[in-house]
């Protein structure tokens, strides 16, 4: 997190492997098309999006009340509820719970929140083994990488590479990259880990204020297994995961999997209402900048996010630059809004990693105005003095020129003259980014203004017009 490289540089490196970048783009577009088919199978889709957005708006507006209600109801169910101000406090709480139970081995289902807090390396430093049990997450964990997508963490890795990784770590056959074979191998390997675990950590997709229960959505059933075998369950969630009523859940469950992977519903939507008999259940509620976003008129809507990843699948930039080019836990359009909220200086290139096409806004199941927020971030960076000079200076000069029609016409005609008459090597050089892979437009001799004024001069008088 500390040294963030600019998005354009990392994106360029990803695009340089053209064949791979196209493979990545196609893989995500395939998911986007599945999502389209699923969305179109529900005539009420747009109504669902609207309702979901309104539920989230309402909830964010009364978040403190709903959080209290949730804590009260969860406590009644026998759950220990903890509050963490930031990632450090979150990790300390989790560690203390684990240490008080003398836990040495943890299985963890997918949780972007624990990625956000960098919980794995923290626990490993304290001699606790953490095994990610989601297949995609286990693949990136074995490769010592971070997820490149919030729903499809290993989308950037090809099956042949998975085969190599599994051969090295799990002893699978050399060169066998049959997905079924590899999945079976992972299943066997993870089964041992599940059986040997002292505690299970899960994320949370929805926390219901009315009941105090939480819901975890997975396709592999790994969350259920991870908290059914060990007696200790720790669920980690951001405070924005609250929804008011159990009834509201139906809206979100219909939207989530359709938007995320184009499935009608996730294979497992597991409800947890308290600990196992003889066990313990803890819920850690994390703020980590979320209440700051709540107080921001511009960016509050980003808290509506249900982490479906649809904005990544649809984003033409994400598809071609890969999740790691964003250098953040949550990449893509939503990540480019959330990351600058945490550290705008380090993440200043992200709001510009966007062509403002607006596809993310239209695909978002909770109607976050994503591309508008990215545009708003650009203005915010300017206000904070964090725009690099090569971005703001041309705009200042351009604005100054454009304040005068005659100056604009003069600068334009000089520019066109040079474009027409300069030798090619003086136009297409290293500093001309446009011209690396593109021709510049052919400069006409006359601007429209000139042509129009000439035409007006030669036009018959107004009185003659009716006779034309």
């Amino acid at each position: 997190m500390s040294s963030t490289q600019d998005h354009p540089a990392k994106a360029k490196a990803f695009v340089a492997n053209n064949e791979r970048a196209h493979w990545h783009d196609k893989a995500l577009w395939f998911v986007r098309e599945k999502r389209d088919r699923m969305a179109n199978s529900l005539p009420e889709w747009e109504t669902l999006r609207e309702v979901a957005s309104e539920i989230k708006s309402h909830t964010i507006g009364k978040l403190a009340d709903y959080l209290e209600q949730f804590e009260e109801n969860a406590t009644k169910l026998g759950v220990h509820v903890h509050w963490a101000k930031d990632d450090k406090e979150h990790n300390r709480i989790v560690l203390e719970i684990l240490q008080s139970h003398d836990v040495k081995r943890v299985v963890k289902s997918k949780s972007m929140l624990t990625e956000e807090c960098h919980l794995n390396p923290f626990l490993e430093k304290h001699d606790i083994e953490v095994i990610d049990t989601d297949l995609g997450e286990r693949i990136v964990q074995l490769r010592d990488e971070s997820p490149s997508h919030i729903v499809l963490p290993a989308i950037h890795i090809r099956k042949e590479e998975v085969s190599e990784t599994f051969e090295e770590h799990l002893g699978t056959e050399h060169g066998n990259s049959d997905p079924k074979y590899l999945t079976e191998a992972a299943r066997g390997h993870l089964r041992e880990k599940f059986l040997g675990a002292d505690a299970g950590i899960t994320g949370v997709n929805f926390a219901i204020a009315e009941t105090g229960g939480i819901v975890v959505c997975t396709n592999e059933g790994n969350a259920d297994l991870g908290v059914s075998l060990p007696k200790l369950h720790i669920a980690c969630m951001g405070i924005e995961k609250i929804i008011p009523r159990l009834n509201d859940l139906s809206v979100f469950l219909r939207l989530l999997a359709r938007s995320a992977t184009g499935q009608p519903i996730t294979t497992y939507s597991s409800h947890f209402h308290g600990p196992l008999t003889g066990g313990e259940m803890h819920i850690v509620l994390l703020d980590n900048g979320r209440s700051d976003l709540m107080g921001s008129n511009e960016f509050r809507n980003s808290l509506k996010c249900i982490r479906c990843g649809a904005c990544m699948n649809t984003c033409p930039v994400y598809r071609r630059s890969g999740g790691h080019s964003y250098s953040t836990t949550v990449p893509g359009p939503i990540g480019s809004i959330l990351a600058p909220a945490m550290d705008s200086k380090a993440n200043k290139s992200l709001p510009f990693a966007c062509s403002l096409c607006g596809s993310c806004t239209d695909v978002c199941p909770v109607k976050i105005d994503l591309h508008h927020q990215l545009l708003t971030w650009r203005g915010e960076l300017r206000k904070r003095g964090q725009l690099p000079i090569d971005k703001w200076l041309p705009m200042k000069v351009g604005s100054w020129v454009m304040r005068s029609p005659s100056l604009f016409a003069m600068v334009g005609s000089i520019g066109r003259f040079f474009l027409r008459n300069m030798p090619r090597w003086m136009i297409y050089h290293g500093l001309n980014s446009w011209g690396k892979q593109r021709e510049l437009p052919e400069a006409p001799k006359k601007s429209f203004r000139q042509l129009y004024n000439e035409q007006q001069k030669n036009k018959p008088q107004a009185g003659d017009k009716n006779n034309e």
């Binding site: 889709w45 705009m395 334009g412 593109r438 429209f448 203004r449």
Partner: protein
């Protein structure tokens, strides 16, 4: 009916034929078209870079220049989207601003929604690939986008379909972004060009002869790649196609007759 022509700055300088085609087309429809000489740039490049302070005087100039006219029409969805969707932050509450917003139209919108053109006699015997520029599509809703569930429509296509002998390319991705994105084209050059190359590949597989759009900026980027890579695709703005295909005085609709009378 009096129309003020709003010509995007880069069209004025680099694609005068697009503005000329727009002018010809509107005049053939019997409209009185004027080109206000005080116009320069709407300020979109500045606001898209976050430099709202630099965009403000240009928005102000735009309002002063165009407020007096009955309609303002531009051959660009992107620049109209700037006026309609983003000027609020700069000009909100100023006298005449709301009226200006409501009377500023992109060319195709103006033809379809205001003039209600439903008949054009003209022929364009080519296979046309229509690029749906994002700001027109998703900011102005000139067509249905693939993300939203609902009825399918496209105002630019609706107009082109009125022409005889025209054929359309069947694209694999109907509305993926071309990768222009203003300064994005330069600051994220690698991704921008890959996006453009992918759009062109889609048009090549579909057999596009003429690539068109309602925004010349997308076409400038795509044409730059087409010319560098020598692809057999010609680029024309939709105004050029319509103006070329239509014979003078051949467009009939109620609105045109009314406009002719006024």
């Amino acid at each position: 009916m009096q129309v003020a022509l709003f010509v995007p700055c880069y069209v004025d300088q680099l694609y005068p034929q697009v503005a000329m085609a727009t002018l010809r087309l509107l005049e053939r429809l019997g409209l009185e078209v004027v080109y206000p000489q005080n116009q320069t740039c709407c300020g979109q490049p500045m606001s898209n870079t976050g430099c709202w302070d630099d965009a403000l005087p240009l928005a102000q100039r735009f309002l002063e220049t165009f407020a007096q006219y009955e309609y303002v029409v531009a051959p660009s969805g992107s620049c109209v989207a700037m006026v309609r969707n983003h000027y609020d932050e700069l000009l909100g509450g100023q006298p005449g601003f709301n009226e200006l917003k409501n009377k500023t139209f992109e060319l195709c919108e103006f033809l379809v929604d205001v003039l209600k053109i439903n008949q054009l006699s003209g022929s364009f015997p080519h296979q046309v690939g229509l690029h749906q520029s994002c700001h027109g599509l998703r900011d102005l809703r000139m067509g249905s986008c693939s993300e939203i569930v609902g009825p399918r429509f496209s105002k630019p296509k609706q107009l082109l379909e009125l022409l005889d002998d025209i054929q359309f390319s069947e694209l694999q991705r109907d509305d993926d972004c071309c990768g222009f994105g203003g300064t994005f084209a330069v600051s994220e050059e690698a991704v921008s060009c890959m996006m453009g190359q992918d759009r062109i590949a889609d048009h090549l597989q579909a057999g596009t002869q003429i690539l068109t759009a309602a925004d010349m900026s997308c076409l400038m980027h795509l044409q730059g790649i087409i010319r560098r890579e020598n692809h057999p695709i010609k680029v024309m703005h939709i105004a050029e196609i319509l103006a070329e295909a239509v014979e003078p005085g051949s467009m009939k609709s109620v609105a045109v007759t009314e406009a002719g009378k006024s």
